[in-house]
Symmetry: C2
Amino acid sequence: MSKELSERKKKILHALVDLYISTGQPVSSSDIQSKYLPEVSSATVRSELSALEALGYIEQPHTSAGRVPLKDAYKFYVDNISNSSQSQNALTDRETEMIRDRFLTRLERIEDMSKAAAKIISDATNYTSFCIDKSALNIEIEEVKLVPLKGNKAVVLIVTDKGMLANKAIDISGDADSEYIDSASMLLNRVFQGRNLQELENFDAAEIETEIKGFREIFDEVLKILRVYVSSHTDNVVVEGALKMLDYPEYNNVEDAKNFLSVISDHDGMAQLLSDDGSIELSVRIGKEDNGVEKCAIVTAAYKVDGEVVGQAGVIGPERMDYKKVIGVLELMKKTMSTVVDSSKNHLTDGRHED
Amino acid sequence: MSKELSERKKKILHALVDLYISTGQPVSSSDIQSKYLPEVSSATVRSELSALEALGYIEQPHTSAGRVPLKDAYKFYVDNISNSSQSQNALTDRETEMIRDRFLTRLERIEDMSKAAAKIISDATNYTSFCIDKSALNIEIEEVKLVPLKGNKAVVLIVTDKGMLANKAIDISGDADSEYIDSASMLLNRVFQGRNLQELENFDAAEIETEIKGFREIFDEVLKILRVYVSSHTDNVVVEGALKMLDYPEYNNVEDAKNFLSVISDHDGMAQLLSDDGSIELSVRIGKEDNGVEKCAIVTAAYKVDGEVVGQAGVIGPERMDYKKVIGVLELMKKTMSTVVDSSKNHLTDGRHED
DNA sequence: TGTTAGCAGTCAATCGATGAGAGTGCTAAA
DNA sequence: TTTAGCACTCTCATCGATTGACTGCTAACA
């Protein structure tokens, strides 16, 4: 919609955002001139800035101040980065190496992996980071096992393609001889085997009503276990480095800090907030007003295994964040994570425990 | 050590702390006089204040300011409350009723109970609260079960007096015929049956070395499961209302807020910090310097079932906190919690699940 | 037409002075 | 021992002046 900018305007706009990102202070014409455009005078830069201001890219906090980038300026800047794929250079080889190493050393539980990933991203970027694990939805049930215990109790074991899912001791009211247990097992397997967890949310037991009777109690228990599992494991959000945001002057006051922290710790809200870009490879949102988190930029990446989205990771920071670095880190994690998940698929069962 | 204070000094000291708690401002002699001691003049109060200052109970921020309580003044105040058991009156009947109701409606998992308790305490007091669940240590193993799965795998089930503890699928390298599984089961039960989890931390496998051989792989796995469980479930800390502290002027600056929040979110550190008063019925700590949390008071209560400590709950707030209310709430929770836990002991197995 | 130098104008931030207000300590008298 | 009265101290808010950082404008120049 807006006309193409002249090369010099582009250069100036880029310079301005660059400077503002690193200093956080309004940028003056002479700053830009001396550091990015020594071949012209500051007066020239000034007139270009006037033009850019008229186009809505930048603004002045007050008459005698420098310029500050607006949303469109950041967008321009980020597009520039993505296209020129400068994100590669944003990370030194040492950084790349370190991130890889740190991540490859821990792959126990899915939850731990999310946590580890979030921690690494936060450490590498110095911003608040988050991970959302959505792998639970793609789990498929392979086998349901009933294991009798002492005293008319039994354990339900649900084996899935990704490992063991849930266990729970249930009471069996009638006489729980082995024949009864076997029949129950068969029924459960006939119903649940091969289903994935997503289907279960609107599973209707009415169709198989006749089959179930006699095992209603057990059946209901199992269905409940699965549903509880799904609801407690979908949109599992992990946040790391929440306090890092408070280091940036934008959030260096208690009011904003409190607001930010309360948004960040409401994990349901976070999941909601991020669901829009759930499957976008790399999304950059800058200063949406309706976020609850104003004055923020959110960069998210979708993580895939075998083409399916299994999670989302991202960074939330001030609008003037180091996009080059953040995008670089997220893309590196994307690569690393796919590798790890692919190769560890069969070990997901390991290290789980519950009480 | 310090001589007994005169009645009037006590009255004045109590008044001063009372006023300071409710306003947060240095208290002047005339404030005390008009609201608590109309029978004397402010000059009299002033001379008493001088004396109390000399005794180290209070101080002036600067020459022309009112007085502010010091640590000893709070101690005096809190002792006064506990002795006169005024904490009863601190809660209205409606509040008492509401707290009871809220707590009795949810008793699923131990973790949920901790969380619920913390939330209720925080809501009722308007301070940051925490719960530490130590019940895991008292769990006793009743039975270890090995359940074979397809493809040379097996599930380890550990049944305890408090419900199911852990499951995990392990690979069995050799030929896992049912005889082998049975022998392994027997061995595991011989070793672990009747033990409680606390013993396992420094469990030495050397003594039964000869018995184990042939089952070393399985044995090690099971031991690992138990240890992982113990380490991840001991000192399980839940914090609620962390941001509430930021509402109080003492923590209304980013630096202190950040410090406080980082202490609060380091759960291991919290457990450490609170371990001293782990078994004290009701402990009040005021402004310990070595806490990491200065300018803070911490009130904790130990929760017991059958005389054993199963957890700790408490409140962390500014030194000038509403001790009457806090102590009242904690004692009410103490009563309520014991009741609930006692009556629900046999249901702890319910509602658990894992992935 | 685009660029530049120079200059006046604007605004925020800082510093010091000033005055009001709050509260105490002291003293002398009851 | 208590009290009234008063001088003293210290904080806090306000005001004005000064400084410094930029810009916008204008007129000259390539």
